[in-house]
């Protein structure tokens, strides 16, 4: 029983993490119809910027209670600005270009962020940690299962931000504008919506969420180099979550994230236990994500919550 509970908590926490990052992908894809490959690098930079700011402010050797929220807010702001700048410089000139070109540009931006981040003048090549700023204390326990700060923080933050984003997209004027642009950009602009502003806001939001995801990830798993494949794979999984849930759909991204987390944690645990004799079963954790992706793309390409659109000539 305690196994089940522990697995559930782990699933929710991981799902929350994926959701935060998936939202950025789904928003950008919904509006501009391309995968922002550089998104996972904003996540990485979010984590590293938090480390840099925290160590700069001396929070890594004992920190007051407001340290984490402060660092998080500053980092989210910086990353939001980064996202907007990247869109302005690299993606906006290609707004009318074939989608393939933007994809390649996104890869270029991603590589740029990875390798610049690795430079000794920036973040360097030594892995590090931000745990000293806010250790993973045990908050309470349900029976024998300890419930710790990071898991709770991830779940709560993910929940709050997803709900907030949902309200923004469905209940505010800006949200309406975003949805309009995602339906039909030209008509939206004809209706008086400033598409450029909408796009910038989208990138800002997505990047801020990515930063939050990056900080949470860094707390849970410490910081690898910006060029490490960790970040790319994290981004990949989050993107798959967005696709599974229905790209462009906020709720879908959250559900997709939970589904992916479910398979990677829950299913993986019970399958390895069931097949405890064979070693190779446990090695499949990495591929579950792609198996789900292929399954979804083959049976319902528009995702769980998506609507299939007819492409008109």
């Amino acid at each position: 029983m305690s196994d089940l509970l522990q697995t559930l908590i782990n699933t929710l926490a991981l799902g929350g993490l994926y959701a935060l990052i998936a939202l950025g992908y789904t928003l950008v894809y919904g509006i501009l119809r391309f995968i922002n490959f550089a998104h996972s690098d904003i996540v990485a930079w979010g984590g590293w910027l938090a480390f840099t700011i925290a160590s700069g402010l001396g929070f890594l050797s004992g920190a007051p209670g407001f340290a984490m929220p402060l660092v998080m807010l500053i980092t989210m702001a910086i990353c939001a600005a980064m996202g907007v700048t990247i869109e302005l410089l690299a993606y906006r000139p290609l707004r009318k270009a074939p989608r393939l070109n933007v994809l390649i540009t996104a890869i270029g931006v991603s590589l740029f962020l990875q390798n610049v981040g690795m430079n000794d003048k920036l973040f360097g090549t030594r892995p590090t940690t931000i745990v000293p700023m806010m250790p993973n204390t045990e908050l309470f326990s349900i029976g024998k299962v300890p419930v710790r700060l990071y898991d709770v923080l991830t779940i709560v933050l993910a929940l709050v931000l997803v709900v907030a984003l949902e309200r923004l997209v469905y209940r505010t004027k800006m949200g309406r504008a975003m949805r309009a642009v995602s339906f039909d950009e030209r008509v939206a602009s004809l209706m008086g919506i400033n598409v450029n502003v909408v796009v910038s806001v989208t990138f800002a939001l997505g990047s801020a969420l990515a930063a939050a995801g990056g900080i949470l990830f860094a707390l849970r798993n410490d910081l690898r180099l910006t060029s490490d494949s960790t970040w790319v794979l994290l981004g990949l999984k989050a993107f798959v979550a967005a696709v599974v849930g229905g790209i462009g759909n906020v709720r879908g991204a959250a559900v997709g994230a939970l589904l992916i987390a479910f398979v990677e944690v829950f299913v993986h645990f019970y399958i390895t236990r069931f097949f405890s004799g064979t070693e190779w079963v446990g090695k499949l954790q990495d591929v579950y994500v792609f198996m789900i992706l292929i399954a979804v793309l083959m049976w319902k390409p528009s995702g769980l919550f998506g609507k299939s659109t007819v492409e008109k000539v």
Partner: protein, 382 residues
């Protein structure tokens, strides 16, 4: 005529070919002795290469101050392989053909030694690996040797320590399935452990860098193991140990030489207390060789030398020793001198190069107590 496009690529290649046609440089018998070093100086494994390179440079500086080898100064060229196999092959090719090295030092990562070694072997230039622990490396040929112990020995050492010193009976293994080193070391431990009479409770895998391994940790928590062997690199190991303690795992963690880094305790914090790892040496050892080396390295680089640095230093010193003994610096003679090294004393102990061109050495088990490293045991060679 517009040379853009068609002529350019072909002419470019041909002109370059003509300009850079060169033959293998030979050692003339006088002038400085050229040594090549290929290492990961940039990229994700940069810290490994830089550590080794610094130690080699230190060794050369000291030796030159004492008059060099046979009266000739020693010169070093280091080429970066950025952690990629193809570049490692190019680096060794360059060192041998363009630079004219009489011997090659390198690499730390076994996969890179496996890529560079065949070229040294083909060109009949001796190569000494300071830190590659995969048995396949020296199997490449008789020009390839190493100064560190092998992974099968390392696995046995950890098993022996856990069984005899820690009196453990049940062990779990948590290894990195994406890293050859980790996977191989895990297998060797398992073999040695079961041979000694211990039982393996769980053998779980993770992919390096992806540390959302809550399900693996859950598995381990429920396994009632006395010890958990964690043969990964320090960056993963540190985080895993911390997470494991949070997950309520009480077993003792033991690692291999991949744990050796100052970042280990920085990242793991207090969770590291009470755990152990096998290593090639410890800067805390009482031997005068070690004390001298640590002092000199600290003075030069303002940092404590890790195992890789110690091995790099020993590789260089052993090479100098072999050069003194060798009939000449030609490939075959130098190779013989290296392969016949007996009872060489270095920072990492006294050892000989055996028939398979590996070094039979002892290992040190380092324990962590109150945030500080201590020497828990010294396991002699089999």
């Amino acid at each position: 005529m517009d040379l853009r496009g068609w002529l350019r690529p072909k002419m470019f290649l041909l002109v370059l070919a003509a300009l850079l046609a060169c033959s293998k440089k030979e050692d003339g018998g006088s002038g400085p002795i050229k040594i090549g070093h290929f290492a990961s100086m940039t990229g994700a494994q940069a810290t490994f290469g830089i550590s080794t390179d610094r130690a080699i440079q230190l060794a050369i500086k000291e030796r030159n101050a004492k008059g060099g080898v046979k009266g000739r100064m020693i010169e070093l060229k280091t080429i970066d392989d950025a952690g990629k196999q193809s570049e490692a092959a190019t680096a060794v090719t360059r060192l041998i053909n363009d630079y004219g090295a009489v011997a090659i030092l390198g690499e730390v990562a076994s996969s890179l030694s496996l890529a560079g070694g065949p070229i040294a072997q083909k060109s009949k230039i001796p190569m000494i690996s300071p830190s590659s622990t995969n048995p396949d490396v020296t199997a490449i040929g008789d020009y390839i040797s190493r100064v560190c112990f092998l992974d099968d020995f390392q696995g046995w050492v950890v098993a022996k320590f856990a069984f005899e010193n820690l009196k453990a009976k049940k062990a779990a293994v948590l290894y990195d399935q994406a890293q050859a080193y980790s996977s191989a070391l895990g297998k060797f431990f398992e073999e040695a452990w079961t041979e000694m009479g211990g039982t393996i409770t769980v053998k779980a895998a993770y992919t390096g860098g992806n540390l959302e391994i809550s399900s693996q940790l859950q598995q381990l928590a429920g396994s009632e193991s006395d010890v958990i062997f964690l043969p990964g690199y320090y960056s993963d190991a540190a985080t895993i140990i911390r997470k494991a303690r949070e997950a309520g795992i009480k077993a003792t963690f033991i690692g291999g030489d991949g744990w050796d880094s100052e970042e280990l305790s920085k990242i793991a914090g207090n969770a590291l207390d009470g755990n152990y790892f096998a290593n090639h040496y410890s800067p805390l050892e009482d031997r005068p060789d070690v004390k001298n080396f640590v002092a000199k390295y600290k003075a030069e680089y303002k940092a404590e030398p890790d195992g890789l640095a110690a091995l790099g230093y020993d590789a260089a010193l052993l090479l100098f020793d072999a050069m003194e003994r060798a009939k000449s610096l030609a490939g075959p003679d130098l190779r013989d001198a290296i392969n016949q090294t007996k009872n060489f004393t270095g920072v990492t102990g006294t050892f000989s190069i055996d028939a398979k061109r590996n070094a039979k050495k002892s290992a040190v088990i380092i324990g962590i107590k109150d945030g500080k490293q201590t020497i828990a045991a010294r396991i002699e060679k089999k």
